[in-house]
């Protein structure tokens, strides 16, 4: 009779450990997606500094970015939420909408010195749930040598972009690379074209959105943009640029470390070209926000807010921005950072006009994003922009739960 008894015991203990864990009063946990060794190390150092300052022990738990949401939801149902969760800004509204986050202002966090756009970035329905340390966006990266050799200037409008890309396309080398992959990467890259052309994610079936899509289609038709773009992530785009298979690319500052490993590659960045001269280049704000999940323990939540405040303090922002090549969220910190890395100034300019993906559609963003991915992939592989966008709009509003 021993085996069944042992087995039942094992089963019971497995079942029990899955349930609520007792929180240790002196130990606070932060859940993030810093699984890369470098990011994990930077965060560990920041948490150690903040822990020392606040007299606490802070533990870091990192899971892959795609699992932060599902992991957090599971932890919520087993009442074992961490004290601080670092969400991707596009995911935060979903968790906030489910009632999982505490208003940071009620916990004593101020939004002074934080630009309005970045407060919106961390807000859902007007409530400030997420403090950003730094933000990022997209820019036009170009190979300086190739442009100089061809005697070309950096394009600033769509017409120039198309012309320059065409002139830089030679043999196996494409003029430009970007990601139109079937995941968030592709949608993130499409937004600066959609928004700068006056498009809006609440209504995809408009001439403005179709115009942006047609601009991409034009690049493919010219042969300046590889058809493989529909299968590329942003990391793939960077690989192509570094291998010399593309003279320009749309990408983000998180690639800078990798780019700098290739010493003979002389690259620079500029703002993403706009439909016509005088238009504003509107990029997407990317990055993560620090949130305090609702654990129901008021004192712990207040302490968690202190951790968030410390991590998003001016000095920590500059340190993190310097490490990760992103732009500090705080205005004063951004000024200091801009003086320090003038070569990335174009990025700071782009951030100033950038906007969040979820301000207008909130928790409905995942549905809009999926519909849009499918639409631009269909258009880039041959269908008409208007037709696919009309279908996408139906899918975006039909499939999701309304705002």
């Amino acid at each position: 009779m021993l085996p069944p008894a042992v087995a039942s015991l094992l089963v019971a203990s497995v079942a029990l450990t899955g349930c609520a864990q007792q929180r240790d009063d002196g130990v606070f946990t932060v859940l993030n997606s810093s699984t890369d060794a470098s990011y994990h190390g930077w965060d560990a150092a920041a948490l150690a500094r903040c822990g020392k300052q606040l007299g606490l022990t802070i533990e870091q738990r990192s899971v892959p970015a795609a699992h932060v949401m599902t992991k957090s939801l599971r932890m919520a149902s087993s009442k074992s939420l961490p004290d601080v969760i670092q969400f991707d800004a596009s995911e935060m509204p979903t968790f906030a909408g489910a009632g999982g986050l505490v208003d940071l202002r009620t916990l004593g966090l101020s939004t002074e010195d934080v630009p309005g756009g970045i407060v919106d970035f961390g807000s859902y329905r007007g409530t400030y749930y997420g403090a950003a340390r730094t933000v990022n966006t997209l820019a036009l990266f170009y190979n300086e040598d190739l442009l100089d050799q061809a005697g070309l200037r950096v394009p600033t409008t769509w017409a120039e972009m198309r012309q320059t890309a065409k002139q830089l396309t030679r043999g196996k080398r494409y003029g430009i690379a970007l990601s139109a992959g079937g995941a968030e990467d592709g949608v993130f890259q499409f937004t600066p074209f959609m928004w700068s052309n006056g498009g809006d994610e609440r209504d995809l079936a408009t001439r403005n959105v179709a115009g942006a899509l047609d601009h991409w289609k034009g690049l493919i038709a010219d042969g300046s943009l590889s058809r493989s773009t529909v299968n590329w992530t942003q990391a793939d785009v960077n690989d192509q640029f570094m291998a010399g298979n593309a003279a320009m690319m749309i990408n983000g500052p998180w690639q800078v470390d990798t780019l700098n490993t290739k010493k003979d590659l002389h690259w620079k960045i500029a703002r993403i070209p706009v439909p016509k001269a005088g238009d504003t280049s509107v990029g997407p704000l990317g990055g993560t926000v620090l949130t305090v999940p609702r654990t129901g323990e008021a004192t712990r939540e207040r302490t968690a807010a202190k951790i968030v405040r410390c991590m998003s303090s001016e000095q920590e922002q500059i340190t993190y921005a310097r490490n990760s090549r992103t732009v500090p969220a705080n205005e004063k910190a951004a000024e200091a950072w801009r003086r320090e890395v003038p070569e990335l100034a174009a990025l700071a300019d782009q951030v100033a006009t950038a906007r969040s993906r979820t301000t207008k559609v909130g928790a409905r963003w995942p549905s809009v994003s999926l519909a849009l991915q499918s639409a631009f992939q269909s258009a880039l592989t041959g269908q008409s922009s208007e037709a696919v966008l009309k279908k996408a709009q139906l899918r975006a509003t039909g499939g999701g739960r309304g705002e």
Partner: protein, 315 residues
């Protein structure tokens, strides 16, 4: 079940001497149950519960807020009709059929041919056989990432190889909705060959040599020998290979996510990726459960066919 009933009486004979007949009988029954209990508990807990939960969930409004307040109101067949009215479901179902049939035919055909080939004695036989096992040892996601590079339209090895052979090296393997599904099947066939080959090779070793000698004496051709001796004797093994292959192919997810993410333009969406997308991207767990249930149902039909086939073999 059969092992339990044969081992228990032996144990009973040694311990039961001299007691009234009713008690040993009860003890025997109790210890029988004792041996079965762990398996039953395990099955109920790790298979029964999730299965029932998934079916129930497909009739519930199960959203992120459910994780906080535990409320998941029943919404009748809302999830089902939403999923069945989505164009994507029909597409994904069709892609799943094409993917499964294509993969099975390719894996099994090539696997069987290789298995037969390796029954011949020739130098380096063992070495080559272990080399062919390699795809099986590589994790699925790694295969996906490597193949994505091989199949790249501009810089992939396959296209530059075709180019040097003068076959026109510009095939949009993964980047055209017309060819992406075919390419994904190709990669899955590559991954599945070793499994098919190993099991079928094992089955071929069981076929008595004398039968081949007899067939040769009767003057049967190679094809006739294969059809009348090899195939019939291999049938039980073939059933196992095909059913297990079917089960692992129909629910494919990781390979497609690594190769195409379901794209371009949803041309490689299958029921597996659709479940994933519904549940973990859109966080609509009710809709995800519906697609999951459809998958379970399809698998269950084949599992029953498999069990019945095995039972009739046993008689």
């Amino acid at each position: 079940m059969t092992t339990v009933s044969t081992t228990v009486p032996a144990a009973h004979r040694t311990t039961a001497g001299g007691r009234p007949p009713s008690r040993p009988a009860r003890r025997r029954r109790l210890s029988q149950w004792g041996f079965i209990a762990p398996a039953v508990v395990f099955m109920l807990l790790f298979f029964g519960y999730p299965l029932v939960r998934n079916v129930v969930m497909s009739f519930q409004d199960f959203s992120p807020s459910t994780f906080f307040d535990g409320r998941s109101p029943f919404n009748g067949t809302d999830n089902w009709s939403k999923v069945f009215h989505d164009d994507l479901f029909g597409k994904a179902l069709w892609h799943t059929v094409v993917f499964t049939v294509g993969s099975l035919v390719g894996q099994f055909g090539i696997g069987l041919a290789l298995a037969v080939f390796f029954t011949k004695r020739f130098p380096l036989n063992g070495f080559l056989r272990s080399l062919i096992l390699l795809p099986w040892l590589v994790p699925m996601v790694v295969s996906g990432v490597v193949w994505r590079r091989i199949l790249d339209q501009d810089t992939g090895v396959l296209n530059s190889f075709a180019d040097t052979l003068g076959l026109g090296g510009n095939t949009p393997w993964l980047t055209s909705p017309g060819t992406a599904l075919f390419s994904v099947i190709l990669v899955n066939v590559w991954i599945g060959i070793p499994f098919n080959m190993v099991i079928l090779y094992g089955g071929l070793q069981e076929v008595p040599r004398e039968l081949y000698e007899a067939a040769a004496l009767d003057g049967a051709s190679a094809w006739r020998t294969f059809r009348s001796v090899t195939l019939p004797l291999l049938r039980p093994v073939i059933t196992v290979v095909l059913v297990l292959g079917f089960m692992s192919t129909v629910k494919i997810l990781d390979l497609i996510l690594a190769l195409t993410d379901g794209g371009p333009a949803d041309s490689t969406q299958t029921l597996g990726t659709l479940t994933y997308q519904n549940s973990f991207v859109q966080l609509d767990f009710g809709a995800g459960a519906v697609v999951g249930n459809v998958l379970i149902l399809i698998s269950a039909v084949f599992a029953v066919l498999y069990l019945r086939a095995n039972r009739s073999e046993g008689k």
